[in-house]
Symmetry: C2
Subunit: 419 residues, 2 copies
């Protein structure tokens, strides 16, 4: 029985080793209304200008601006209304001097007209109206191509498809959207101490919380997963199960079994699978024993069995790998700065990640650790929307210090209306 020696590498190096492997998934197409959360697999090129024609941004009257010159409160100019056009309709008339066409928001500016008078700027009288000020050429007109022009790249390959991207794709008639396939994920919680959620408690045992948590994180990123049954500490069956998982999935996430104990089989499993271990120790707390390995086309993430360490490993390593596989341009976590609202002693030289709650107090972004925060803590994760990142090699942090914060959850914790 020997204790395996492991050399910790810096967090940044570990993340870079993970994403450098970059198995990019093949591309496919999905229906527009299924495409949210996918990564776009090709540039989307404008096939026409937006706006596609000069249009009215208001309800009002299309006029020739030249006819409005010298209008004033004392000398109102009167126009004769020769047509009404609703949105989506096009007038077949061309304006002559002193003529106007009633126009709706979004309708095409008729021939001859070059300005729009808003309803609120008129006094109406049957089939005519008057105005009290001159209008400029193109006043109140949304010009063809002012937003984008034909052949412009309107969405980039590698961009997250968000609601706005879906609006753009709809505009250009994409009923099907070119995307990267999403990786499929196997989740295997390991450990003879683990009970299923539905199981009654037994002495010395705990319920498996990492499996459901990781499954929720996978669901949050709109990936599909298969949750394997809890794998007890038996080497042969563990090898068989993980091997099967690597054959059926693009990512295999195990929790537990990554330490250096007698029943921690992951090193032996990786060896049996001839997987290339990218690292098995990271200079960070919690989660220093996080291990990542790769086979030919599968990532193996060996996350800690400690919930806070498990969560941290997911956010730091699994998430960037997932988005790299999906071909995303933006794969790293969103970082903000915040003012630390309570001191945090830091007893070791490793980088420290602390489940935390960020709040904007009306003046500044603030952050506090979300309660009891050891590696094994679970409740703090539920009350966090961020992780404080204290770099290695620094000492304790005092209240009032500015710290870097990784945003992990977009559900706000504020209840006040701060607008």
């Amino acid at each position: 029985m020997t204790v395996e020696k492991r050399t910790p590498i810096p967090v940044k190096d570990a993340i870079e080793r993970v994403v450098k492997e970059s198995f990019v998934m093949p591309t496919t197409t999905v229906a527009l209304d299924e495409s949210l959360g996918y990564i776009l697999a090709q540039d989307i090129i404008a096939t026409y200008d937006i706006p596609r024609f000069n249009k009215s941004p208001y309800d009002g009257f299309a006029i020739r601006s030249v006819d409005s010159q010298n209008a004033s409160g004392e000398h109102r100019k009167t126009f004769r209304v020769i047509d009404h056009i609703g949105a989506g309709s096009v007038s077949d008339k061309t304006l002559a001097q002193g003529e106007a066409i009633r126009i709706m928001t979004g309708a095409a500016i008729p021939e001859g007209a070059d300005a729009v008078v808003m309803l609120e700027q008129t006094i109406e009288d049957d089939d005519s109206f008057s105005i009290r000020k001159p209008f400029e050429h193109h006043e109140n007109v949304s010009l063809q191509g002012e937003e984008t022009q034909e052949n412009d790249v309107v969405l980039q390959r590698g961009q997250h498809i968000n609601a706005g991207a879906i609006a753009v794709l709809a505009t250009y008639g994409y009923t099907e959207v070119p995307v990267y396939r999403k990786p499929s994920v196997a989740i295997i919680a390991t450990g003879s101490e683990l009970l299923d959620v539905a199981d009654p408690l037994e002495p010395g045992k705990i319920r498996n919380s990492n499996g459901p948590m990781i499954n929720a994180l996978i669901t949050k990123h709109k990936l599909t997963s298969k949750v394997y049954k809890i794998q007890h500490d038996d080497l042969e069956s563990s090898i068989a199960v993980v091997k099967q998982a690597t054959e059926e999935h693009d990512i295999v996430i195990t929790t537990g079994g990554v330490s250096v104990g007698d029943f921690d089989y992951l090193p032996a499993i990786y060896e049996a699978l001839q997987a290339n271990v990218l690292f098995n120790k990271v200079a960070m707390r919690p989660g220093s024993v996080t291990t990542v390995a790769v086979t030919k086309d599968t990532y193996l993430f060996g996350l800690s069995g400690n919930p806070s360490a498990c969560f941290t490993g997911f956010e730091l390593f699994v998430k960037p790998a997932v988005y790299a596989m999906m071909g995303a341009n933006a794969i790293y976590p969103q970082i903000v700065q915040a003012t630390l609202m309570e001191a945090f002693a830091k007893p070791n030289p490793f980088s420290r990640f602390i489940r935390a709650t960020t709040t904007f107090n009306g003046k500044e972004m603030t952050v506090v650790p979300s309660g009891f925060n050891k590696s094994g803590a679970v409740i703090a994760i539920a009350h966090s929307n961020a992780m404080i990142m204290l770099p290695g090699g620094t000492r304790g942090y005092q209240k009032g210090y500015t710290v870097d914060v990784i945003l992990t959850d977009s559900t706000a914790f504020e209840t006040e209306l701060l607008l």
Copy 2:
């Protein structure tokens, strides 16, 4: 034909009027692995301590700390290993003087032991090992109840169920989770100028981008929606369709038809439904004509037909209403501060919301408008993860000013690793 006079109210007042209506949905239960994104409908009380028993946070040997006193490099203390316990197992032995039990991470501390020696701190020799330093009472022991104690509230009613909450619920054996039902949403795009995504273009017409965009925003919040077919400008059928939607759904979102034009039927529809109009003009740009009305148990959101205004109306009004209906404690958008990286002229005294991209540049949070940003703009929405909020009554903003930013999208736009 008269122009309806509308009195704008401040954004904050408008939001407060919306959420004050608060139709809270009935409660139900959902399976644990379906509960992500729901709001918890009751407090979750700890039914036992966490940890539930004194446990080892490391692989190593459980000892009696008293036996380690005076250990040093010169005078190592030797222990005899009398049992091996894996995680989940419990030893039936009680330690006597000089004895130790091999223990795995997570296993219960055996009777008589009060400290754990990490494997790395030992020299092993068959059935014994020696140490070179004394251990304190409870050194390397995770104490029962140190994270939380029986009867503590571990999750609050009204909290978003995130991955961490799911881990807590799993720990306490919740296979079913008490939640508020989610509101069902009807989406009705209105306007005779609108074509379906699959339709070929026609003169004067545009494809409906608001319907797919709003549907994506609804999907993002994990609500179910029914997308109605495009409603052309016809009062009678519009009344019938919206009436049916209010009967079948908790929220009805219309886009378009909220202006003051001849074909803008929403006021007439609200009147026909005897809906209470909370406001029909807000002192903001874009989206000043956003209208919100309520019937007995349904919200009617009349969002602008202009995509940027439509998006803004969703984020400001629909989102808080959705979370208020779901019983959430946190219903308002997350706000941060950022440094404006380009000047923004502001030609009117209304509050201004600008689709924008926030980036943390390693030193500070920065923000820039996401391109062409008029009310009708669509592409900028796709490239935004935030909205800059410039309060009413202020003048233009210079580069370098600090501005408030509402976060609207958690997908990062950064590609650099900033750890």
